[in-house]
Amino acid sequence: MGIKIKSMKNEDFLDNSTLETLKETGDNFFLTTIDDIVNWGRSNSVWPLTFATSCCGIEMMAAGASRHDFARFGIEVYRASPRQADVLVVAGTIVHKMVPILLRLYDQMADPKYVIAMGACAVSGGPFFYNSYSVLRGVDQVIPVDVYIPGCPPRPEALLYGVMQLQRKIKSKSITNPNEVEEK
């Protein structure tokens, strides 16, 4: 079963088609239907954590507000508690003093959990924080990241695209091995 995301063209994914090849039919065919059902549920109710450290947070709020409204894709409500959140959108600069707090929030989230690095600061340490003693060089230095969204800050459309990519990624996972997507 091919993975289709509503209102996105298939050719948009051509440059990034490896995810589908990860989930080619092979072993454990008893579970593939259950996988599809579980992944359908998981990928369509990804609840983000209310966590924004700088201007990317404003774009994230705009993405959640009525014009862009990412609740359309099931990225439903911002949860104030990490216990109830599925995705941690790292929206903004992470300084070294913020790292322990970020790690604690990530650790408090229940599995399955996903991380989106939004904006240049979270991706790589920022477009203008060169020669800075205080800024972390990308959030992937401390926590595993699923989707990177470049931009400074990315427009809400870019966040929507990144969230759709995350949904695709979630759909390619299996409940037998939830944290790893193995190449077959």
Binding site: H96, F129, Y130, N131, S132, Y133, S134, R137
Partner: protein, 152 residues
């Protein structure tokens, strides 16, 4: 007081000062040894009455280190920028203005933390923002950190 009157007054009080031209505010470059004296006179004389230290900041000009004092008088509504420089990068030190403007206590701690400029007779000169065991002064131009910094 107008800027010209201020200039005249300051030139009477201390020698060896300079007034750089074409600045936004009246600016005065003070030798380090007469900094304390000038600050006290500016604060205590009723005609000048600089009762408000807006900010105190450190600057690294590579060739020298400087401390910049932005002063305002809330009664006369006039401004003055006071600068003091040193070429000693190993052990730079100036007199504290903490007992003249109490707000300088934490400003000077911050300047010490970021630039390593010491303030003589400061009551509690510790690091303000960085950890106590931090090595080096991060806002200096020659500060290096191989792990944390992206060089450019």
């Amino acid at each position: 007081m107008t800027n010209d009157q201020l200039k005249e007054k300051i030139s009477e009080w201390v020698s060896g000062i300079e007034f750089p031209e074409n600045k936004q505010y009246l600016e005065v470059l003070v030798p380090a040894n007469s900094l304390k004296k000038l600050a006290e006179l500016l604060h205590n004389t009723p005609e000048t009455d600089f009762d408000y230290l807006i900010s105190l900041s450190g600057v690294d000009y590579v060739s020298h280190l400087a401390v910049v004092y932005h002063l305002e008088s809330t009664s006369h509504k006039h401004f003055l920028v006071m600068k003091v420089k040193t070429e000693d990068r190993e052990n730079p030190n100036f007199d504290t203005v903490n007992e003249i403007w109490r707000t300088a206590e934490w400003y000077e701690r911050e300047v010490f933390d970021m630039f390593g400029i010491k303030f003589n007779n400061h009551p509690d000169l510790r690091r303000l923002l960085m950890d106590d065991d931090w090595v080096g002064f991060p806002l200096r131009k020659d500060y290096k950190d191989e792990i944390k910094m992206i060089e450019r």
